[in-house]
Amino acid sequence: MNNSVLPTQSDTSVDRSIPRLQLRKINKSFGGVQALKNVDFEVYAGEVVGLVGDNGAGKSTLVKTMSGAYVPDSGEILIDGSPVTISSPQDATRLGIETVYQDLALCDNLDVVANLWLGREAYRWVIPGVLKALDETEMERRTIEVLRTLDVKIPSVRRPVAALSGGQRQCIAVAKTILRQPKVVLLDEPTAALGVAQTRQVLNLIMRLKQQGLAVVVISHNLHDVFEVCDRTIVMRLGQRSATFDIKNSTSEQVVAAITGAEYRDAPVSSSEMI
């Protein structure tokens, strides 16, 4: 395992030439229902993309396609411009796509260090080839390092996760994926059911991920959050990508209109048309 905690991208500005992760003409049906119709999607390194839409608009299906939970009926997936096949969550992980689901998947009874390293514990051989012991010192040191890099504040890394607040738990779940040095992080409703201060904490963390040069996709119902951290917003409606907004040049009214399908004037420049 390599010693640096995070992938070191020297250039943290958004590289617009090749998307880190790109989906082209994705179709997915469940029985007679077509959940995704010719959907294009792209996210660049160092960029935060908000994925918004009403319930049943296809957000979750699209994200599950990226995370390997669903296999699309047709369409192409490219990472850094080269086509890849994602047929299982393991494939996605191997390709550097990490997903943080709403249920977070933390073990409440274990402490922060144990949760962060679960399944990939650092160990030392006590009897070479026979008996290995956990290397708690190394894991604790690197946990503190990661949490400091991500500016996550928790009372103690030796505290069970059950004792942490919702925002802290969310941050731990994100930090856990960061240890695997991913290229793309997918966050499913990261601020749902969080208080004001805790939401703040998570949004800060998302900005940190962006600064680290990761491509971040945030599914959210909360437009306020989307406007706070996202560079672009992609709106899904009835299984199609209905609009794309550059956050700097758009208002939440426009986004709401696109979500609900209401008419709106001054249609913004859709960046999907620029590709």
Binding site: P89, D103, L104, A105, L106, C107, D108, N109, L110, A114, L118, G119, R120, E121, Y123, L131, K132, A133, L134, E136, T137, E138, E140, R141, I144, L147, R148, T149, D151, V152, K153, I154, P155, S156, V157, R158, R159, P160, A162, A163, R200, N204, R208, Q211
Partner: protein, 411 residues
Amino acid sequence: MKTNTREDDRSAVNAEMSDPKSNPTRSSFNLRSLMRGDLGFIPVIVTLALITLYFQLTTGGVFLQARNLTNLTQQIVVISILSTAAVLVLLLGEIDLSLAAVAQACAAVMATVSVYQNWGAVPSILAALVVGALIGLVNGFFIAILRVPSFIVTLAGSIGYAGFLLLVLGRQTTLIVRDPAIRALAPTYLSPIIGWGLPIVVAALYAIGVWYERQRRVKAGLPVKRSTTLIAQIAGIFAGIFLIVFLFQTYQGVPQAVMISLGIVLAFWLILRKTPFGRHLYAVGGNEEAARRAGINVIAMKMAVFTLASTLAAVAGIMLTSRSTAVATQISATLLLNAIAAAVIGGVSLFGGRGSVWAVILGALVIGSLDNGLDLLNQDQSIKNIVQGAVLVLAVTADALVRRANPVRGK
């Protein structure tokens, strides 16, 4: 990289690193971490102290005599080993109701091959262990792969294995074991050299390990306990060992069976706390889905735990047979419940993921002390049952109350 100092810049990760005296939250943190760790055992230790005090007073000082304590610890050997098996399964969030039946059935296998096939002690014991492991694999197959609730599988199993016991023993109701080596397992006392030497060597190794780990933490810049605290802790462990071994030596020495059961508990404590396997076991018990997503093979973990539990049950059966020198077709009705009760009294959660294997020692001591003390007072079985039931409920209630008052420990 720029550090975000916009708001609340008291990064707790930093605070933890800073000088303890400069941080006002330090003392409360220490208290809470104590409650989580060592003080989690306080209710059961208090219970044990009260029981000891009561019997010491009512039996006129007989209870704490070296002779009686030697008896008491030998009486709880089987419960301790069986309870260790129960802890493994409970930590997984499952239950094994077949442990007592498995113990007896495996003991019957050992006795049969020893008596009728004239196998030596070692092959006979190995046969029992192999049968135990196979039974565990069967349990694990139904529970982990076919996903039948462990309660049902092991309940059905306990009936089936009791039948297997009858089958193995044939028409006899008891089979007396003649093999001197098997008979000597439980009642032997260790020579003073081993009785003193083994615990001291183990404690010394532990002390070296703790000290080495501390040096590594210092090197890595992590917070460490004060060296005086650490020395006091290690001194406490040594003092405890000296006291206990001294007590045993004033009678006949350290019983071999007690050393074996302590060794088993110590080994499983190390496995659970210090190895990836143990960490994964706690993880599966805490959140199976999270463990699966972290890449842990949950099915293999469950198979392994049920196999280990049944093998340990076989060990308990062997010790039971050695102590009574015979295997009976009758399975003790209280053995299984006492084993699970010992784990629960010691604070192991029935819902998985919480508790330490040391719970076994404390829980078994509580149950054993009641049994032993009430015997000394010539109480009837009826009274013994009522008192044991009451103490079990009290211990579990106290544990539940402590847990509720201390949300840090979670569910």
